[in-house]
Subunit: 131 residues, 2 copies
DNA sequence: ATATGATATTCGAATAGTCGAATATCCGAA
DNA sequence: TTCGGATATTCGACTATTCGAATATCATAT
C-alpha cells in the first residue's frame, strides 16, 4: 500500500541503522554524555562521532545542552529509543510455514470476512501505525 | 560500548529501512501474499519487488512457500515485524532539556550510586538488549 | 518439447552513506 | 587577545544501495 509516510518511517529507521549510532544511543540510555566521553567508549574518532551525532540530531533522536564548552547530548525521545533497542535485541523464533498452512490461513481469513454482513466492519486500517 | 552485536542489530534495522520494504511488510501483516499481488499494491516493478524481498529474506523477516508456480511470502517473525511497525509509527513527544536539568540528573545519579555500599549492585547491564 | 506466466538474478549507471584529514568555530582561561 | 580544548563542518575518496533493463529459471499447461 506504500503508506503515505513509509518514507518518514524509513528515514527514522535509517538513523538507527548503523552500529556506531546504536552504540551511541545505548550509551545515552545510561544518561547524558558529551563527545569526549563517547570517544573513550567507542572505536571511532571525534569527527566521525560528531557526524553520527548530526544524523541522530536530524532524526530528532538526540539533542544537546551546552554546558560551558561541552555539549551534553541526551535522548530527546528516550522511550522510543529504549523500545527500539529492546526490540532489535529481542530474539524471536523464526517460523516456517508449509503451503498447506498458508492455504488454510487464507481460507480462514476468507471465511471470517464472508461471515460479516455487507459492510466489512473495522477494516483494521493499519498504516505504519500511529497511536 | 559498541556492543558485540550492534552490527547484527544495525543489519536488521537496515533491512527495515526502506519505504518499499516497509510497505511490503505492512502488506504481509495482513496475510501471505505473492509477488504479483504486491505489484498491484506497490508503485514498484516486479524485479524491484523481488530484490527487496531478497533483502527481507536475508534478514530472516520473510520467507515463502511455493504453491505451484507462485511463491507465497509470509512474515517469519510476525511479532517482531508488527512491533517494529507499531514502534516507528508511534509519535513520542520530543523533550528538550536545559543544562541545569542535565546537571541535576547527573548529580542524582551520582548520589544514587554513592548510596549503595561497595559493590555497585546490578550495574544494569544493558546491551542491545537480549531478553 | 515448447510456450507461458511467475519470479529471480545479473549488470550497469546513478545515488547515497561512510570515513579520515584538514579546517573552522566557539568557549573559557590566562 | 591569544591560547587550548571541545566540537562541528567540509572535502574527497571509497563503498554500498537502489533501480531498470535484460535475461534466466522454473512450474504448469498444451
Amino acid at each position: 500500500m506504500e503508506s503515505p509516510d513509509s518514507h518518514a518511517a524509513a528515514a527514522l529507521l535509517k538513523a538507527f541503522s548503523h552500529p556506531t549510532r546504536l552504540a551511541i544511543l545505548l550509551e545515552l540510555v545510561t544518561g547524558p554524555s558529551c563527545v569526549t566521553d563517547m570517544e573513550d567508549l567507542l572505536p571511532a574518532r571525534q569527527a566521525n562521532i560528531s557526524q553520527h551525532l548530526a544524523v541522530l540530531r536530524h532524526a530528532k533522536l538526540v539533542d544537546y545542552a551546552q554546558v560551558g564548552s561541552l555539549r551534553c547530548y541526551y535522548l530527546c525521545r528516550p522511550n522510543l529509543v529504549e523500545d527500539m533497542l529492546t526490540l532489535v535485541g529481542r530474539n524471536d523464533p523464526v517460523v516456517k510455514r508449509t503451503p498447506a498452512e498458508l492455504q488454510s490461513n487464507r481460507e480462514a481469513l476468507a471465511k471470517a470476512l464472508a461471515k460479516r454482513k455487507s459492510p466489512p466492519k473495522k477494516p483494521v486500517r493499519r498504516e505504519v501505525s500511529k497511536r
